[in-house]
């Protein structure tokens, strides 16, 4: 199944003046760091998250992960903290960064080989498919996400899974993956 990639991410590698030879629905292109230097789409996203009172074009450290993800990457929280230089928890909301500081962080994350594809995501969910029938128990998934790994809040899990479970509390995970990836 060809992954439907999020659009701004697709757009990102295109250098600004000359169009690069890339079909619209290509499989995930190799990220070219050279293109970062002329990268208005990233700047737009950065600006959309800028909530400083004087529009200083800055975001807080806490937002950095969100902006990176909004641009189509999917780092773990650990990876984000690492690229931020392991800031102290109290600094996360107070320390600010500008676009020039943000950019290399984004570059680093996007070069990471460990990103995983849609297939990986499906495999991850298949782990919980006990009967091998393409569906998983919502309750089990909820429990895992809240207790294991980079724990999520119950509220977050609720948001994620709402509308996905059928009458028996089962989630068809391939559809689920499509839903998550299409956002």
């Amino acid at each position: 199944m060809a992954p439907k990639k999020p659009e701004p991410k697709k757009e990102a590698p295109k250098p600004a003046p000359a169009p690069s030879p890339e079909p619209e629905k290509a499989k995930e292109p190799d990220f070219d760091p050279k293109d970062i230097t002329v990268s208005p789409p990233f700047k737009e996203a950065f600006m959309l998250f800028d909530r400083t009172p004087k529009c200083e074009m800055k975001i807080s450290y806490a937002q950095c992960g969100d902006v990176i993800r909004a641009l189509g990457q999917n780092p773990t929280n650990a990876e984000v903290m690492k690229v931020l230089g392991k800031p102290k928890p109290e600094e996360m909301n107070t320390k600010m960064m500008d676009f020039e500081t943000f950019l290399p962080m984004f570059q680093h994350i996007s070069k990471s080989k460990d990103r995983g594809t849609q297939e990986d995501f499906i495999e991850g969910l298949r782990v919980f498919d006990k009967e091998g029938n393409g569906s998983i128990m919502g309750a089990e998934l909820r429990h895992v996400l809240v207790t294991l790994g980079e724990k999520m809040l119950e509220k977050e899990v609720e948001q994620m899974l709402s509308g996905q479970e059928d009458g028996n509390g089962c989630i068809s995970y391939e559809a689920f993956v499509k839903h998550i990836m299409s956002g």
Partner: protein, 731 residues
């Protein structure tokens, strides 16, 4: 340990029994899987958030750009004034004539007593003096979609007018004898929001005082119901219910933003009387409220000239609409005098030629320009002293030929339908100053930088900075300014270092899911507590994803309509980049071209995937921007150029027609239509020949009786979104 883990162990056990070749998931694998799912989910949430944010930007930009388009209309009105075109065959004070409801003598004499309530009326009955059972009856009736009989409406309005006459301009309240005061912001005709506030916070009563900070009407469909409820509580609890005037409590705004239409639709026979009464009532609403001498509550904001003492002394009822210059005397002499001065002033403006061709520079909301730097040199010495201290507004770019300027004449820069008209003022300076004070209170917006600049966006009031706030609060010994007037995503927002609160009470203002509404409670400690809510129209709660998608799709539709309305300009801009005429240009060029035409300051590159298609080589096929939107019905014998113009100015034309159609019948004569259109188009510099207009007029006079149903006419200039139609067809 939850059941999940034991199930997994069970499963592992089962699996190993069933089939040895299937590896049971190890804890490490489970952990890895969890992390993988979590990282994908976090990405999904972030992408949803960015969509939410650009959706919001789109709504705001379009709202403000729509107001900007009104500049054309305002200059059109002044153009009309200059040229004294006797559209309705009446006297020289054209605007006054057009904008007064023009009651017949009979109507003027009639009172509510003459209005009979027939036996077939099934709505609520109320009696005066009002009691709690009356307000309860009204609330239940409106929840059940009933309409209050015109007689009761008129009676309520008479009583309200009588009551308000004794109110001062500024109301001083105290929390000493009550626990907390609740302050609500804009409601804009959203009855559901008002009912939700009452549900969460309780009805107004002697223990539960409320301040409603203006903009009760327009845009939403239940403005008259809100007014009725608010006025009823006002009469019932006069010391515990307070209403501030907003910029939409203004009959001229109501013409544009829907309240007039709503009243005329719900009250066909008595609508005009009701509107006339409302006109007086709106001007009698107090303009500010002060709590404990510590908190100032006004609808819009303040300016560096705001003076509460002076405000307390002006005659507010004379200012029927802040959009019209104050007139100190009614007789014909004044009108003739006006005519003379306008004649001179008029030639100043028209000599420069209409400003239709140039798009006005838009003040970006987040960084308003410091007006002085861009003041056109052409706004010469005769421009009003009101605007020059802060830098002249950017509206009048046409040069004023000096020889014909009578030097003592002050040209008053007057907001009109969200933009500015320069008209000579006849009012004595004091009244003019009072009028200006009120405009500032009702129209201003806070800005981040220090200083006070003219609010050219809205066409009235100003942008006031933190220093202006500080100075005013200090001067009057106040601690806090609460205002409304601007939609906020969370329903409220602090600014100016916590000295200003914006409170907005209409949730889903732009679209389902666009924003929350909020109200704020203040106790004697003056620490504000906020309460948020969101009206949900669906019985089944939408997920966050669905809400964002709904709002986003609505925003994108509006954006596409904007593209459609500016198609020829956009195509011209695109083609400039497309030297080889391939039909494609780079994404950067496309983004630049679009911004240069539309000037909405939106993140075009991020939006591009939703608006235009890419060619196989990654360039933008710019024609695809317009594919999704097409004209609703084909209008025969009409050139595409004319169609586009009509489409773009559809809302403006609607206003003009509504004004000309004095009896609100929906019909205007062919002659009126032709004249209006000619003036309008010549002012817009649109090249349309007379015969095309005549043809158009004749073709829309469907029953050939010499009159045009302009609503039908305007219907032809709606657009449809092809995707919508496709979806509907697919069921």
């Amino acid at each position: 340990m939850g059941c999940g883990t034991s199930a997994a162990t069970e499963a592992q056990g089962r699996l190993s029994e069933k089939d040895d070749s299937v590896k049971a998931p190890s804890p490490a694998l489970t952990m890895k899987a969890a992390i993988l799912i979590q990282r994908w989910y976090r990405r999904y949430v972030a992408r949803l958030e960015i969509r939410r944010r650009y959706t919001w930007s789109i709504f705001q930009s379009i709202e403000y750009a729509g107001e900007q388009d009104q500049l054309q209309l305002s200059s059109f009105f002044s153009f009309m004034l200059d040229n004294f075109t006797q559209i309705s065959g009446n006297g020289p004070d054209l605007i006054s004539h057009l904008l007064d409801p023009a009651l017949t003598e009979e109507e003027k004499q009639a009172t509510f007593e003459g209005v009979e309530v027939s036996d077939s009326y099934s709505g609520p009955h109320i009696s005066f003096p009002l009691t709690v059972s009356d307000t309860n009856a009204l609330l239940s009736a409106f929840k059940a979609q009933q309409i209050l009989h015109a007689r009761y409406v008129l009676q309520l309005l008479y009583e309200t007018k009588r009551f308000l006459k004794q109110m001062p301009n500024i109301i001083y309240l105290s929390t000493s004898y009550t626990k907390e005061i609740t302050v609500c912001g804009d409601l804009h005709g959203r009855l559901d929001d008002l009912l939700l506030i009452f549900y969460k916070n309780g009805l107004p009563s002697t223990d539960n005082p409320y301040v409603f900070n203006g903009d009760f009407v327009d845009r939403g469909k239940k403005s008259i119901e809100i007014i009725i409820i608010l006025f009823a509580f006002l009469l019932l609890y006069p010391d515990h219910m307070h209403l501030n005037r907003g910029n939409h409590e203004d009959h001229i705004m109501n013409l544009r933003y829907g309240f007039t239409k709503e009243v005329m639709q719900k009250y066909r026979t008595h609508g005009r009387q009701i509107l006339q009464l409302l006109q007086d009532i709106f001007s009698l609403l107090p303009v500010a409220t002060v709590i404990d001498d510590k908190v100032l509550i006004v609808h819009g904001g303040i300016s560096d000239m705001t003076d509460l003492e002076f405000l307390g002394s002006i005659e507010r009822q004379k200012i029927k609409s802040v959009l019209r210059l104050p007139k100190s005397f009614e007789d014909v002499e004044a009108e003739r005098g006006l005519e003379k001065i306008c004649g001179q002033a008029g030639s100043l403006r028209s000599a420069g030629g209409p400003s239709g061709g140039t798009r006005k520079r838009r003040c970006r909301r987040r960084k308003p320009s410091s007006g002085s730097s861009s003041s056109s040199s052409s706004s010469s010495s005769s421009s009003s002293s009101i605007s020059s201290p802060r830098g002249a507004s950017q509206v009048w770019s046409s040069p004023l030929p000096s020889p014909r300027v009578p030097s003592p004449t002050d040209l008053l820069q007057l907001p009109f339908l969200d933009s500015i008209v320069a008209v000579a003022s006849l009012a004595p300076p004091r009244e003019e100053a009072g009028w200006k004070q009120i405009v500032d209170l009702l129209w201003s917006d806070p800005k981040k930088q220090d200083g006070c600049t003219a609010n050219t966006f809205r066409g009235g009031g100003c942008y006031f900075g933190p220093d202006v706030t500080r100075r005013l609060l200090q001067r009057h010994g106040l601690q806090l300014l609460i205002r409304s007037h601007e939609c906020k995503q969370e329903g409220y927002e602090f600014c100016h270092d916590g000295q200003v609160i914006t409170i907005f009470s209409a949730s889903n203002y732009y679209e389902e899911g666009s924003n929350r509404g909020a109200y704020v409670k203040l106790g004697p400690d003056m620490v504000p507590r906020f309460f948020q809510y969101q009206v949900s129209r669906c019985t089944r709660k939408l997920t966050l994803h669905q809400r964002v998608s709904v709002a986003e799709s609505s925003a994108l539709k509006s954006l596409k309509e904007k593209l459609f309305a500016h198609r020829s300009e956009l195509m011209a801009a695109f083609q400039e980049y497309d030297v080889n005429k391939t039909g494609c240009i780079s994404i950067t060029d496309w983004a630049q071209a679009t911004e240069s035409v539309l000037k909405l300051d939106l993140p075009w590159r991020t939006l591009r995937p939703r608006l235009a298609r890419l060619a196989p080589d990654g360039a933008v096929e710019y024609q695809s921007c317009f594919e999704d939107v097409s004209a609703g019905q084909p209008v025969p014998q009409i050139s595409p150029n004319l169609a586009e113009t009509l489409y773009r100015y559809r809302t403006d034309l609607e206003i003009v027609f509504n004004i000309i159609d004095k009896d609100h019948s929906g019909l205007i004569s062919i002659d009126e239509f032709r004249q209006t259109w000619k003036l309008f188009s010549s002012h817009l510099n649109v090249d349309v020949d007379d015969s095309a207009i005549d043809d158009l007029a004749r073709s829309i006079d469907y029953n050939k009786d010499g009159s045009i149903d302009f609503n039908e006419f305007l219907e032809a200039f709606r657009v449809v979104h092809k995707l919508d139609t496709k979806e509907k067809q697919q069921g």
